[in-house]
Amino acid sequence: MIQPLLQIEELCLESDGHRILNSVSISINQGEVVAILGHNGAGKSSLAYTIMGLTDYKPSNGRIFYQGKDITTKMIDQRAKLGIGLAWQEPARFEGVLVKEYLRISDNESATNPEVTFEDRCTNYLKLVGLDPERYLDRALDEKLSGGERKKIELAATFLRNPKLMLLDEPDSGIDAEGTTLVKGLISQFAKSGNSALIITHQPYIAEVADRVAILCKGSIERIGEAREMLDYYYTICQGCPNRFDSDLK
């Protein structure tokens, strides 16, 4: 039996007395793209942050295994070094930190792809997300960039990092339709190279690039299966469900 790249077992997360994730179990195989689809407040981003190990997202129960090893108590940077990467839904602003510096600390391809220079890799990934490298590399990653620009730079940085498991939190939020198409293509290309991705989204058309889709509702995985089947279920059942307005678990 092939060991999954990521295996989550009965993960629970609480915050301020509210249950955010309720016994979530899911696995992701090597080279697989899985989408977590759900309404706002279902707990999707919290699941990604818990996998990444953010300090405010310590599970109250359950385990996270990565390449067969328990990483539940590992710090963010330790998980990153193991090969987990996160593209944030709303990327932070960094005063005085240049785009090229941000890309440099993200760059993980120098070891695996030494024949291509860092500058060429930056140029390549910025173009792939629809940004002109000459306009952006020497700019600060601060409030002078729009949310959409910072989002595209965050995606370029995450792809440049080339993690074994990429967590993409609402990868289309804040970016234009053309950018969304580019990002979907990048995810597909990324998976073809043997890497895995977990896409967090409330947009079924983004989930279309996934091999499997899990529908998250009120902190629980309601069902999981082949993408087409799950998307049909989501369109017919979930979009009219009254629970989508009551996603908070008490």
């Binding site: 300090t55 990153a80 932070a92 960094f94 005085g96 600390i105 990092r161």
Partner: protein, 312 residues
């Protein structure tokens, strides 16, 4: 044996200055060690008179009407020995339709018991601009008191931009007091960036008084405190007339046992004026920190990147 002038030039270079500017005949410069003028060069359009009076260096400058320089006037103030006192009095006039930029390096590389006082007054007449950037380097001992007090009058449609950088080495005892007032459609932009460590004590008072209609003020400060350093930043904008707009923006990031106080003072005396303020005092922003750590960097490495950006 190296002369003090040679050592001052080395410290100037270490602080980020480019010594070649002192031999460029197209660029004005002034180099003062203690109360002694080591070197100066003038170019047409700028009057500069330097005199020593009872240990006080008195600098008078006047930028002629309509003059615009392509290069900044390069200035180096400093004291090389471990002990000493430098007291500078500046009186400046920028006439109408002129544009002037000063780039000053204030270097005290070996300071153990050094005092540097600056008392400045600058008058910017209408339709002119004056940019004053001072970059300080106080060495690694923290044995210095730096006390600049500057008042600037910004005329109609004129601009004053003042930058204070002290981002390398120790800060020592720093007490900054700037007060800038603007006439109609005048603009003031103040920025201070200081890295404090050890038992450094930093006090900043920056005040923009927006007197004329439609004048604008921006007062920003970025302080990184380490060790047991202490910083206090008073950022003040007073808007007295219609159409005045001001913004105060203060970030004091604290590491180790450092402490800080930020006091934004917003005084709006006209219903058609607006002043906003924001301040963040305390630890490094968590989201920024976790974003960098999610790239595989340790917490310490991530903090250095964040504070490095803040002080750039």
């Amino acid at each position: 044996m190296k002369t003090n002038q040679h050592l001052l030039t080395e410290a100037y270079k270490k602080a980020g200055g480019m010594p070649e500017v002192f031999s460029n005949r197209e660029m004005a410069h002034l180099m003062i060690h203690g109360d002694e003028v080591y070197s100066s060069h003038l170019i047409p359009g700028l009057d500069l008179d330097v005199q020593t009076n009872g240990g006080v260096v008195e600098v008078y400058f006047r930028m002629h009407q309509g003059q615009v320089f392509n290069h900044p006037v390069n200035i180096c103030f400093g004291i090389v020995p471990e002990k000493g006192k430098q007291e500078i009095k500046v009186d400046g006039e920028i006439e109408e339709d002129a544009k002037l930029e000063f780039l000053a390096y204030c270097v005290f590389p070996n300071a153990i018991k050094v005092e540097h006082f600056m008392n400045g007054r600058v008058n910017i007449r209408a339709n002119s601009s004056f940019h004053y950037t001072e970059v300080h380097y106080h060495g690694d001992n923290g044995g210095i008191l730096v006390k600049p007090k500057v008042t600037v009058s910004v005329g109609e449609n004129s601009i004053y931009q003042g930058n204070f950088y002290l981002t390398k080495g120790r800060a020592g005892q720093v007490d900054i007091d700037y007060e800038i007032s603007t006439e109609t459609a005048g603009k003031v932009d103040l920025l201070a960036k200081i890295n404090a460590s050890g038992d450094d004590n930093v006090r900043i008072r920056e005040s923009a008084i927006l007197k004329g209609t439609n004048s604008k003020g921006l007062v920003r400060s970025r302080i990184v405190g380490r060790g047991s350093s202490r910083s206090e930043v008073i950022s003040e904008i007073i808007a007295l007339n219609a159409g005045c707009y001001g913004h105060v923006d203060c970030i004091e990031t604290l590491l180790e046992q450092a402490t800080a106080k930020a006091i934004p003072l917003v005084d709006v005396q006209h219903r058609l004026a607006t002043v906003t303020h924001e301040a963040a005092v305390g630890r490094v922003n968590k989201k920024q920190l976790e974003t960098i750590m999610a790239k595989g960097l340790s917490e310490d490495e991530a903090i250095e990147i964040l504070v490095g950006g803040l002080l750039r």
